[in-house]
Symmetry: none
Amino acid sequence: MAVGKLVPKDVRILRAAEEVFSRKGYDQTTLDEIVRIADTGKGTVYKYFKNKEMLFYTLVRQKNDELMVELNAVYADHKSFQERMLGYARTLVSFFYRNQVLWAVLIFEILTVSSGWQLRWNNETRTYDVISRWGKPPTEQEKAVKIKFAELFREEITVLKNILVDAENENYIKKQMDPSIMAQNMYFSLMTTVMQGAVTPKNMDEAMAKFLDSFLYGHLIRQS
Amino acid sequence: MAVGKLVPKDVRILRAAEEVFSRKGYDQTTLDEIVRIADTGKGTVYKYFKNKEMLFYTLVRQKNDELMVELNAVYADHKSFQERMLGYARTLVSFFYRNQVLWAVLIFEILTVSSGWQLRWNNETRTYDVISRWGKPPTEQEKAVKIKFAELFREEITVLKNILVDAENENYIKKQMDPSIMAQNMYFSLMTTVMQGAVTPKNMDEAMAKFLDSFLYGHLIRQS
Amino acid sequence: MAVGKLVPKDVRILRAAEEVFSRKGYDQTTLDEIVRIADTGKGTVYKYFKNKEMLFYTLVRQKNDELMVELNAVYADHKSFQERMLGYARTLVSFFYRNQVLWAVLIFEILTVSSGWQLRWNNETRTYDVISRWGKPPTEQEKAVKIKFAELFREEITVLKNILVDAENENYIKKQMDPSIMAQNMYFSLMTTVMQGAVTPKNMDEAMAKFLDSFLYGHLIRQS
Amino acid sequence: MAVGKLVPKDVRILRAAEEVFSRKGYDQTTLDEIVRIADTGKGTVYKYFKNKEMLFYTLVRQKNDELMVELNAVYADHKSFQERMLGYARTLVSFFYRNQVLWAVLIFEILTVSSGWQLRWNNETRTYDVISRWGKPPTEQEKAVKIKFAELFREEITVLKNILVDAENENYIKKQMDPSIMAQNMYFSLMTTVMQGAVTPKNMDEAMAKFLDSFLYGHLIRQS
DNA sequence: AATGAATGAGTCTTCATTCAT
DNA sequence: GATGAATGAAGACTCATTCAT
């Protein structure tokens, strides 16, 4: 996969980084492999990116930006709940399929408590609370890093939450759970489905139809 | 968390390992830290556990064994689908709540593609297929390691699958999706719900009731 | 022995390695000491040499190459058996004198059975046979490593064997033993002589003359 | 190889040590393996032997004592040079064949310069001189250890030297080289011959006859 | 007496980051 | 600017030796 020499260095590095992070995960990825694939020097990476973490962040931030454009388009282009849901699910599943490991890495960075503390979105204050479990509370800088990553998810999930809220407001679906929570559940459910290999581009339409059907009508066989 | 001096070394080490793996994840955990917390020597760890991986495996294997006893009891003690589902969900959620990060680490190590290949359970041959994507296929030893971990999940999910299959056979719920897949989805959905902090022991009963209600009846408001 | 700063790092490392391997043997040599003497960082060693073994191999391979040039010149430049033998012996003794311990380490690595198996050159198949004595036979990789080292000796000894074979064919010396074996014996005899300090550059000419005289005429005093 | 329970512990340990040192060499041998084979505890080893080195020394000392009894018998029982030489060679080759690696280990420990200094027997003062090459001269204790090992060789070689001296005095063989040196050469020549697999118990008689023939009559084809 | 659990200094090896050219 | 040689802190793992039981 020879990368054209005319492509700017930073783009070449990001492409190589995507390839390697996706294959190896965050810790197992070495800059040596990235620069080898990007056909550049190690110093160059540090010219464009502060460090390994920022390289990773820039990469996923960019991926997220592209996804957000698509998700927002789904929301804007359709008005019915079913169309929005199907569109959202298809877009997301397709994205996960392409960026499976990258996003798994991302989850891992966010969900896990890596230094005795965790972030939790506070829907009222509209900021993140620090849930400290042991050890020292995080520095402002550490907190900022984690928020940076958490924001990526929140953006993606918020679109789904808005779809649900709209449907609730139109009395189309029950006001049963906190729509934020429901949106999170559906988001991660879709992600794990893809990760387990249960959904692929080939069977996606059928699988998404069943998924939506279950969501709307449930699994119970009505004894009427 | 002063550990009593009378507790056997291997137990002290496992406790310390749980603490650190849960805080740092697999790669970021160092034996130095485990040893420091267990208040023992490095050689002692290697006396009881072949290496870092086996220490981690022993830890999660033990947790899994305890969980399996509870899950099997739920299946055996109840006959109705609803009771079984509620029991399963409560047991699992309570377990996840206690072992949140450990299980996240486990997922990450298992489900994600970290070396160009992935395991997939083949329900017909009743073994695992290797899905190779790039690079060299894994050695038998590498495969064995991953299977060891994958088995943990499969055991837990199989109980849920059996609950679903029984319900299908009794014509209680629709035969809509592959029950293995459905069981996987529900399993990971419960897991991520807990990880996001949406469910805690305090609100668990209410949340599980809603969860089951959604599963059975769906979210649609019937326009009758 | 201050090493000039302008000498390339890999050369500095090889020099330091020679010093330490010669002093301590293979197992007892630590990279820490090599690095300290080479006045460089540990990573630098691993930049130039794959691992400790390859560092050692590179070192002896280089020594061997230099020696082979000299030995081949002796064979090419002289035609009489006596001149060839004297030239070979002097070259080899001079080399052993300079690289005494390094070559002792090498012998030890090759000749001794250190894992239940041993290599033996098969003159007919022109490859090495594995003589397995106990335990598992070596892996291909282990075998390759040992062959790598064994080749060094074989190259050096082969020159001597050719000298003997030529002399046999010219009916100058008796066809008494397998010339390969005889060559090996003489080679190791010269080596041990040097190692015991019996031959030094100062007494070399005299000693080699006696050595050759004994070889040709034997030690018996003729009672005629 | 179940070692009888009635055999004293120290004997069991020495037998196990022989097995393992012969298989692995000195550095690669672990006490764990020795005690496993000796079916005893690690503390017991330290009860009978000061440390790993003394265990090794006791082992080779004992082997040497047995060999010396045989070699001295050869010297005492025969009067002719040829009988003595054949007897010495056969005894030694048979011993080397049985204790190949053990003696290789020994040579390596003795002949090589392992800390910037070396021992050399001074035939006039009848003690060992320290040949210091670099670094600090050895402590008295270090010197004593090495002498301990060197003595083993010297005893064995001295028998051969006496055979040669007697033959010289009887005007049977030429007074050509220092008989000490010549004895050393023959000793090590026999050893390396065995180590290369050129001599085994099966072909020993034939090989020793050739060896002696070469020694006495040389290899030259007489053009008379 | 005999044991083996416990120890930790010591080893090889990796890799993010820097900086001289 | 761009490079990659150089670095050294850090990590997994080993093993001779000790000592409480």
